[in-house]
Amino acid sequence: MSLDTLYTAETPEGIALSLRPAGVVPRVLAYGIDLGVRLGIYLAATLLALPFGGMGRALLLVTYFLLEWFYPVIFELTRAGATPGKRIFGLQVVMDSGLPVTPAAALTRNLLRTADFFPFLYAFGAVSMLLRRDFKRLGDLAAGTLVVYSDNVALHGELPSAAATAPARALVPREQAAIVAWAGRASRLTPARLDELAELARSVTPAQPGDATQRLLGVAQWLVGRRGGGSP
């Protein structure tokens, strides 16, 4: 079982797309921001509506109702698929098939908020989120939705350039993948750590000049198909 919480959604073409579900903390913070936004709108509406007497108070009550129940629905149906609070934290509501959320699902998950809130302060919702790998609250379970990070993190970049060198022995596919993945992370690791990891693969690098990192980067370049100095 892998340690990360990637959620795999399969497309009709048989492709597995990975989504990154968001956990309790960013969602609680996003909820806090939304609460502030709703409060702000409500206060502004109060100031606007007060001079209009009964009609104004009617609008105020309707505003309150809409903010209470439909604020998240409306924002989740926009292109961003997120309320302002969620957007600040880079979150997004999607169907668990990876598709944009449908109106029916958005309504379902937000009406069932009542159940998540029960008995106080989203206790059921929080327990449900903590018990599941995909952090779904009860409303998400019923609606088949998922709150995910909208952007993917790029942990791996282009391979750094190095003179391609053949490995000293034949490598099995797993070893090849490990070396290429190591090289892809070169931009995110400190040189010392990179070197430390390269030392582990000493048996692969032929005895050539240059430090372990440079030699292993050369092997990585060789593995992705570069030969000699330049073109593939």
Partner: protein
């Protein structure tokens, strides 16, 4: 084929797909239409070709599968993955919303869905009506029984609301205009409807509770007012909007019961899958509940409370509304013929 060859061979496809996606996503977001690419000489490309987009999408799926299977460098796989993901969202998104969908919902889907849940509806009706009648009978026999349901001050307020001298029916003296009451009814009643639905998630217990609770409250007040001699004021007030409001609350409760039943007896699905299916089916009922409660709030605020309409007229219109609602839920949206049924199925 090495990763480098792979990349250089297919990169043009990916770039084309990327461009197409950029354009399609921008078209859906008209605000930013002419913002980026303003300086681009190719700012006016030919219209987006759906078939080409689908082809590019399938190619990128294929490339992604290859890249994953051959353990190509992860940055390459990730680029393909995000490309495929964007295209997948674009191609499989639903776009049959709008007025036609709404018409279909009102004329066919909602009444059909209600009929599909008829046994839940029966259960919800009993859960609502039996406590209502029981509480009504109890307070009618002994008006003091109301004190089990409300405190003395509230009971006093009920009296005032339907008093002969009341300026408008069904509201306390300090609540002023029709509009304000409309706002209040929207907020309060639709909220109750939603609670009846959401309560179903706790194995249906929440829905049962809210149905029984509201039944007891309504029945208690009705019995109390009857015993106190306000029956004409009270029943002429509730008869019209009750057709929509009570029906809608019972419908919301029925939808909640369906959720609870799916969790308790999922049948041949997993509990989660059963719950998802139940939610998908019942949300159609909830759409209707929202609509009916809006209608009820408008009637309650502007028609039911009006003193200038004679009670006889209200009874007539109210009766017609009950017939209308029952006929709508019972017969609207049935296929006309057997062939129609085959088409719909």
């Amino acid at each position: 084929m090495t990763p480098l060859q792979f990349e250089s061979q297919y990169a043009p496809f990916w770039q084309e797909l990327e461009l197409a996606l950029d354009r399609a996503e921008k078209k859906a977001l008209p605000k930013k239409k002419n913002e980026p690419k303003a300086g681009n000489p190719q700012a006016k490309p030919p219209p987006l070709d759906g078939a080409r987009l689908a082809e590019l999408y399938r190619r990128s799926c294929e490339h992604l599968a290859l890249a994953q299977a051959r353990a190509y460098p992860i940055h390459l796989t990730q680029r393909l993955e995000s490309l495929t993901q964007r295209a997948h969202r674009l191609i499989y998104r639903r776009h049959d919303y709008g007025l036609a969908r709404l018409k279909q919902l009102v004329l066919v889907d909602f009444p059909q869905s209600v009929r599909a849940h008829r046994w839940y509806l029966l259960a919800a009706t009993l859960l609502f009506a039996v406590p209502m009648l029981a509480a009504g009978w109890a307070t009618w026999r002994d008006p003091g029984f109301i004190l089990h349901l409300a405190d003395a001050q509230q009971a006093q307020e009920f009296d005032n609301m339907y008093d002969e001298g009341a300026r408008a029916l069904g509201r306390s003296r300090d609540a002023s205009t029709d509009w304000q009451m409309f706002g209040f009814y929207v907020m309060h009643n639709i909220g109750i409807g939603f609670q009846c639905f959401a309560g179903g998630l706790f194995a249906g217990i929440g829905s049962v509770f809210f149905l029984v609770f509201n039944g007891v409250q309504i029945g208690g007040v009705a019995g109390y007012l009857t015993a106190r001699g306000h029956s004409e004021n009270f029943y002429s007030f509730v008869v019209t909007h009750g057709a929509f409001e009570l029906t809608a609350i019972v419908l919301a409760g029925a939808a909640g019961l369906r959720l609870g039943h799916a969790l308790l007896a999922p049948g041949r699905h997993t509990r989660l899958e059963a719950l998802k299916r139940a939610a998908r089916d019942t949300i159609v009922v909830v759409y209707g509940v929202i609509g009916m409660l809006l209608v009820a709030a408008a009637i309650e605020a502007f028609w039911s409370s009006a003193r200038w309409i004679a009670p006889g007229v209200k009874y007539g219109v109210g009766g017609a509304c009950w017939l209308l609602v029952i006929a709508y839920l019972g017969w609207q949206g049935r296929p006309r013929t057997a062939e129609g049924a085959a088409d719909a199925g």
